[in-house]
């Protein structure tokens, strides 16, 4: 462990990361799985890795999940 964990985390890249294009193309599928309590991250680890690393896609996913949960509620 070094003394700059935030920089260390930022520079780390996950080889499973599928990138924005593929993640956004499957975002609706992923969101429905998460909303249903399914292990979406296990089924799509590359999307999970991307949403963890990409701020804009992560924010879009949070917004989509909130909308889905609003409908369910």
């Amino acid at each position: 462990m070094n003394g700059w964990p935030a920089l260390d985390r930022f520079l780390r890249t996950d080889p499973r990361d599928v990138g924005c294009g593929e993640a956004m193309a499957m975002l609706h599928v992923y969101a429905d799985l998460v909303a249903a309590g399914e292990p979406a991250g296990q089924r799509y680890p590359g999307i999970a890795a991307h949403l963890h690393a990409c701020g804009p896609c992560g924010e879009d996913f949070d917004a989509l999940l909130a909308a889905v949960r609003d409908d369910a509620g």
């Binding site: 070094n2 996950d14 924005c20 890795a49 917004a63």
Partner: protein, 220 residues
């Protein structure tokens, strides 16, 4: 009006009843379709307004401009959805598929709107901001001064010009990734890929010089 069989060639068999009904009415004609379009638009607008209001203040957008942006996002999303109805394959609920369009529209429009602010620039590197962005305390400067100098050298010498431009905008100047994509006439995907490659390259250089460990697995 476009008949259903031309818009939706085949309604997927495994659809839930609500999604199948959306496809049926949107792919049809007459007052039923108009009512469905109005209902869908209202749902999209509600999401667009919530997202615009949530994200807007961070980007210094508010008031009528923000409302206009939400209305435009909902209208553009509705057009995209009706144009791509035949691409819905029933992998999710119809509404989840549709909501994605409006969220993408809000993100893209906020990214473009960012550049209307008079105080933002793409190119000037503000290295003074870096310690704060990564939680490096001024009191500990003796410990991280060499690290930042090595990072700066790596940015200057190991990144391509395009990678450096994107790194400076996003990391040093705090420009949102979607705004960078809009300014460069690029896509979120392409800019993210550029940053991904830049991060990996910078980490390798810092690890080779003993500032970071060699494990580049971002798995958590």
């Amino acid at each position: 009006m476009i008949p259903v069989h031309r818009v939706v060639e085949e309604i997927p068999a495994r659809l839930d009843p609500e999604s199948a009904e959306w496809l049926r009415v949107l792919g049809g004609a007459g007052p039923g379709r108009e009512a469905a379009l109005a209902r869908l638009h209202a749902m999209l607008l509600r999401i667009a307004q919530r997202e615009a209001r949530r994200r807007g203040p961070r980007l210094l957008i508010a008031g009528p401009e923000l409302e206009d942006l939400a209305y435009q996002a909902a209208a553009d999303a509705l057009m995209a959805i009706t144009g791509k109805l035949g691409q819905f394959r029933g992998e999710s609920r119809f509404t989840t598929w549709a909501y994605r369009f409006v969220i993408v529209e809000v993100s893209a429009k906020l990214g473009r709107h960012f550049w209307r602010r008079p105080d933002v620039r793409l190119g000037a590197a503000d290295w003074e901001q870096l310690p704060g962005r990564f939680g490096l305390e001024p009191a500990q400067e003796a410990g991280w001064r060499d690290l930042l100098a090595a990072l700066r050298r790596a940015v200057d010498t190991d990144l391509t010009a395009r990678q450096r431009e994107v790194f400076v905008a996003i990391v040093l100047n705090g420009v949102p990734l979607d705004a960078v994509a809009a300014r460069l006439g690029s896509t979120r995907n392409a800019v993210y890929k550029m940053m991904f490659d830049a991060r990996r390259k910078l980490r390798a250089v810092l690890a080779a010089n003993g500032y970071l460990d060699d494990d580049d697995s971002g798995r958590s």
